[in-house]
């Protein structure tokens, strides 16, 4: 199947475009702020930033309906913001404070929201894939018409449990969209050095799962593909694979020396394929917004992120009693 190209004249409203612009910008500014707080020592441990991949979650969230579920790996800040979780609660979890989504006990990699149907935030590469199929299993058991977005990376795509899951998801026609966020590097190992095939979605064919490649730097292409995948699942036809080609600008985690790729490669992606710049261009050239309009959005987002950062610093550390709670329900 061919890569989806953005059509020259997208059939999309100004409000929609502005929404995508705002959502993607929120993720980017949030992540930049997280990087800054990490540098200041306010965030510790592992912190995996989503910068560059924003169009993936924003596009797919645009294809989701209320009640649909999502689950992902440890690079999860973008997914949480895109599904409507509060930036302050997410940032406060990064700083390990009581106002965080897990009361400071989960950290960057482990957050959940029942209200937003966000099921984490999982730190073991690939483990979220059977879990995501399990969420879909529950929906099918209850026959409630819901769909689960199960995100994983090109690195996780080499875990055996992914294929155990593909088999059962196809066998049992589970309503799950497997989203392979292919950012081309599994930590520091380029896809060509770790993966026997160029396109990973092909592997679904062995299990009878249809799939396609999506331009993950183009939010409209992602949304369109997402709608098709969701319709397939909701029609009871079983799982669908979207291999979304994307790119992470920052290191794998904060302590990544980035020796496995050149600065020029990163720069080229930023200059030629940036997902936010693409929407910005569409807004301006389509006369959907003026520079001033966009500046106003920038400022609005900056305020939201600054507020989240302030909250994450002001929220107290969890009380010592919290060490001993939430072990058993």
């Amino acid at each position: 199947m061919a890569t989806r190209k953005s059509s020259k004249k997208p059939n999309v409203s100004a409000d929609e475009l502005k929404h995508y612009y705002r959502e993607m910008l929120l993720i980017r500014r949030f992540e930049e702020k997280a990087g800054q707080l990490y540098g200041m020592g306010l965030i510790g441990g592992f912190c995996h930033l989503y910068i560059g991949q924003e169009a993936v979650v924003v596009g797919l969230e645009a294809a989701a309906e209320e009640g649909d579920k999502r689950i992902t790996s440890y690079r999860d800040h973008g997914h949480m913001l895109a599904c409507g979780m509060d930036p302050g609660g997410v940032m406060a979890e990064l700083t390990g404070r009581t106002g965080g989504y897990s009361k400071g006990k989960g950290g960057s990699m482990h957050m959940f929201s029942k209200e937003k149907h966000f099921y984490g935030g999982h730190g073991i590469v690939g483990a979220q894939v059977p879990l995501g199929a399990g969420l879909a299993f529950a929906d099918r058991y209850k026959d409630n018409g819901r769909v689960t977005f199960t995100y994983f990376g090109d690195g996780a795509a080499n875990q055996g449990q992914v294929y155990e899951t593909f088999n059962m998801a196809a066998l049992w026609s589970l309503p799950v969209v497997f989203v392979i966020e292919n950012n081309q590097y599994a930590m520091g190992t380029a896809q060509a050095r770790s993966t026997s095939t160029k396109d990973i979605y092909h592997r679904g064919e062995a299990f009878g799962i249809p799939g396609e490649i999506v331009d993950g730097m183009n939010v409209l292409a992602v949304k369109e593909a997402g709608e098709k995948a969701v319709a397939h699942c909701r029609a009871g036809k079983g799982p669908y694979i979207l291999e979304v080609k994307t790119y992470r600008y920052r290191g794998h985690s904060m302590s990544d020396p980035a020796k496995y790729r050149t600065r020029e490669e990163v720069q080229k992606m930023r200059e030629q394929h940036d997902p936010i710049e693409q929407v910005r261009e569409m807004l301006l050239t389509g006369n959907h917004a003026t520079e001033d309009d966009l500046k106003a959005i920038d400022k609005e987002i900056k305020d939201v992120v600054n507020k989240a950062a302030d909250f994450s610093k002001d929220s107290p550390e969890p009380s010592v009693e919290e060490l001993w709670t939430d072990i058993y329900a």
Binding site: M40, G41, A258, T325, Y328, A329
Partner: protein, 459 residues
């Protein structure tokens, strides 16, 4: 307003680094994402990016400077028309959160080692009414009845595993369930433990109450990441938001002549994990009552059965709802000279030994723990306060055994009551051999339990 650029922490453990190279100079305009400098940590040379936009007003730390502490101001960023001197008074360095964390944890640690009261209160109420009618049932039938009863009362309970449906269970524990509940709720899986355990855990996070049968617990090692990292830890990691009500059950420990890879007791492994509950019943009544409680429990439960016990018959009370609580040991036999503590198939050796010891005039109290997490250590302490001697019995290996944990608890909480060192009777510290004579030697035996009791009673 002018802002300080601080020496960043570029890894989880970095405290200081070398400012290797500046890639900007004073007067340069920078945008967020531009590389400002190269910084050497103990592991690598890293690029340091700008977060804010502005003009580099002043460079405070020259390139080549070693040992620059994290959070030291290294440059000043100004806005158009400002000078570096506009900076307000320098901020004080943030407090060292590492020290603070260490201080905060000291309190509960102290609380945990607090001495237990002299005589712990334990629940020794009967599990069922004394006048309940009893019926002989095998452990296998009792387990099936428990599942069937819970599936009848809760539509969200389902059974999943290899050969649980059409084959009627590899060990016939799920016999008849497919007929009664249908293929939607009694689900044959492919041979793919890691995958189906993960799917079951995911479904539990979404509100179902799966029972996962492992054909044997040996195969659950394929799935142990999902059991521990996903099922046991999610409630804590989510700050109490998202739990995992699930039962993992199946035969555990040695069967007969199936050699090393199919003959391991996992009691001590799972007992170690906070977030899991662990049951290992001996009798049919306990198997039924504990499994019913396990299925209703909002937490992940490891339910360790035994192939040899499946066919054993015991009295099972015929009451409407036999649910036995976790964390409550059962005293099978009262005695005054020594306490023998066991669980699961170990009870067979413990009870046999007690019978034979009685012939020699030694009165043994035999306690069946029934659940290992939570563990009714109070019942053990109470008994040791009476008998002053303790022998533990299990089939698992000696190093890091259930018995060694019990020994440490008794040492800490009832040291003054002990008249002899605690002895742990365990399986031998070898992989299970196939040869019949060697297999017998590798398992714990009744004679070893008798010898241990004689040793602690100085007979």
């Amino acid at each position: 307003m002018a802002t300080e650029i601080l020496m960043p922490a570029l890894s989880p453990t970095m405290e200081e680094g070398t400012l290797a190279k500046w890639l900007v100079k004073e007067g340069d305009t920078v945008n967020s994402g531009d590389i400002l400098a190269e910084i050497e940590t103990d592991k690598a040379t890293m690029e340091f990016e700008a977060v804010d936009e502005g003009i580099v007003g002043k460079i405070l730390i020259g390139e080549g400077t070693e040992g620059v502490k994290v959070n030291t101001p290294i440059a000043i960023l100004v806005e158009e028309g400002e000078s570096a001197d506009d900076l307000p008074e320098p901020k004080s360095a943030p407090e060292d959160s590492g020290d603070k964390a260490a201080r905060d944890t000291s309190e509960p640690a102290a609380a945990a080692t607090e001495a237990a009261p002299a005589a712990p209160k334990v629940d020794q109420s009967p599990d069922w009414p004394a006048d309940a009618q009893m019926k002989q049932q095998t452990v296998r039938e009792a387990l099936r009845d428990a599942m069937a009863e819970e599936m009848r009362s809760d539509e969200d309970v389902y059974l999943m595993g290899e050969e649980v449906a059409e084959y009627q269970g590899a060990y016939k524990v799920s016999q008849g369930l497919l007929d009664e509940f249908g293929a939607r709720r009694v689900i044959d899986t492919p041979i793919t433990e890691h995958g189906f355990a993960g799917i079951a855990v995911g479904s539990a996070m979404a509100g179902l109450r799966p029972i996962v049968e492992f054909m044997t617990f040996n195969f659950a090692m394929q799935a142990i990441d999902q059991i521990i990292n996903s099922a046991a830890k999610t409630l804590y990691m989510s700050g109490g938001q998202m739990g995992c009500p699930i039962v993992f059950r199946g035969p555990n420990g040695a069967a007969a002549r199936v050699a090393a890879q199919h003959s391991q007791d996992y009691a001590a492994w799972y007992m170690q994990i906070p977030g899991l509950k662990v049951a290992m019943p001996y009798s049919a009544a306990d198997a039924k009552g504990l499994l019913k409680s396990a299925i209703r429990d909002p937490n992940p439960v490891i339910f360790l059965e035994n192939e040899i016990l499946y066919g054993r018959s015991f009295d099972v009370p015929q009451i409407d709802d036999l649910a036995i609580p976790f964390g409550k040991a059962r005293i099978w036999r009262e005695g005054s000279d020594v306490t023998i503590v066991s669980f699961g198939i170990g009870m067979q050796y413990a009870l046999e030994a007690a019978d034979k010891l009685a012939e020699d005039g030694i009165s043994a109290e035999v306690i069946d723990l029934r659940t290992l997490r939570p563990m009714d250590t109070g019942a053990i302490i109470n008994s040791v306060m009476k008998t002053n001697r303790l022998v533990t019995v299990e089939e698992g290996w000696p190093q890091g055994s259930v018995g060694s944990y019990i020994s440490s608890v008794v040492m800490q909480e009832a040291f003054d009551y002990l008249d002899a060192p605690v002895i742990n009777c365990t399986g031998k510290d070898v992989p299970m051999p196939y040869a019949a004579n060697l297999e017998k030697l590798a398992l714990v035996t009744t004679d070893e339990v008798i010898a241990a009791v004689k040793q602690v009673t100085y007979r």
